[in-house]
Amino acid sequence: MTSRLWQLGFASRFFIAIFLYSGTSFRRFQLTLREVFFSGVMSLIIIMVSGLFVGMVLGLQGYDTLQRYGSAEALGILVALSLVRELGPVVAALLFASRAGSAITAEIGLMKATEQLSAMEMMAVNPIARVVAPRFWGGVISMPLLAALFSAMGIFGGYLVGVVLIGVDEGSFWSQMQATVDFREDIVNGIIKSFVFGVIVSWVAVFEGYDAEPTAEGVSGATTRTVVTSSLAILAADFVLTALMFRGV
């Protein structure tokens, strides 16, 4: 218990340290760009394919339920709202945590285990500024874009199943969706959510890597902890954010 508190305190201090030393990651933007490549571009395939399938499943299930009430035309609303508000940010963040977060932890943990971080300090290079902050910002930049892509692919998947395959009327699919989905209420809130999730995942990933025991087991344990902790944190934060954003008004 005490060690948990200890870790939480260290993590908070680490979070502030990232902000203090993130000047380098913007002055030498190439460093951050490299991390956007590794965490963002490399996650493209998994995000887009799973977005497509989640949307297709939503299309099938939604149609099955809605047609019982004779309102299959509302399929567009169902698919768009559930993706933009919830599934897009949350599922994309969960995938991002397991695809990119674990990689970041393993990388930093291994750097620590092979004493590369200490070597940097010996050369008066701050490892937080040089290694940690660019990875953090790379994740924070990538996450909202990935979530938006997930939602867009999902809506396309819902369209494929609903309109092309089942034959829901195309006009009402899109027009009802446009009439109901509000830009500020739904889309911007979804983007804010994915941004918060990006901060959470990146923070947990770099912290677990930095805090890893410098052994083989230590790194593997840290990688596991990254996925578990950030997934739980995403779901908990999602509840809090949803409660703040959509109070049924």
Binding site: Q30, L44, V84, L145, V181
Partner: protein, 156 residues
């Protein structure tokens, strides 16, 4: 600083990410429809607004001409006061009749304008005099059922 393949990939990633946001905003959301141009405020008092909500549509001849901005309660007269943001392109006569309608049987409620014949137009901040409250479906059904019951009694 050299341009690398990495830059190209990151550029590609950011471009399709932004394209996705744009798609969500324009094709999925109502950003293109709301046209967020000039608006003016109108008010209307209703005895009962039913399920009308903030951001519900204001329609005339079925065309969206404004949105409900906020809904207040006038505790002096015990009526609901609905403030509307109207599109500045459209003006309405002073004797316009505001009703609360439902789209379809169970759809969203909206304010419908039935345009009057007066030549003077409503100005910003003015109040619509003639209004009709929301139709409460339960009341209608119970009225219908009571009528049926009394009818069948009469026949006997």
């Amino acid at each position: 600083m050299n341009r690398t393949a990495l830059d190209l990939w990151v550029g590609f990633f950011v471009a399709i990410g932004l394209a996705a946001v744009l798609f969500l905003a324009l094709k999925v959301g109502n950003l293109s429809a709301s046209s967020s141009g000039e608006t003016y405020a109108l008010q209307a008092k209703f005895d009962n607004i039913g399920g009308l909500k903030v951001r519900s549509a204001v329609k005339s001849s079925g065309v969206v001409v404004g949105r409900v901005a906020h809904i207040d309660y006038d505790s002096a007269n015990y009526v609901a006061v609905v403030s509307m943001q109207m599109d500045a392109r459209y003006k309405f006569p002073r004797d316009t009749f505001a009703t609360i309608n439902t789209s379809g049987l169970l759809g969203d409620q909206f304010i419908g304008f039935e345009v009057g014949g007066e030549s003077e137009m409503l100005k910003a901040g003015e109040s619509i005099k003639k209004t009709q409250s929301a139709v409460v479906l339960e009341k209608l059904i119970s009225q219908f059922m009571f009528n049926q019951a009394s009818d069948s009694k009469d026949k006997k």
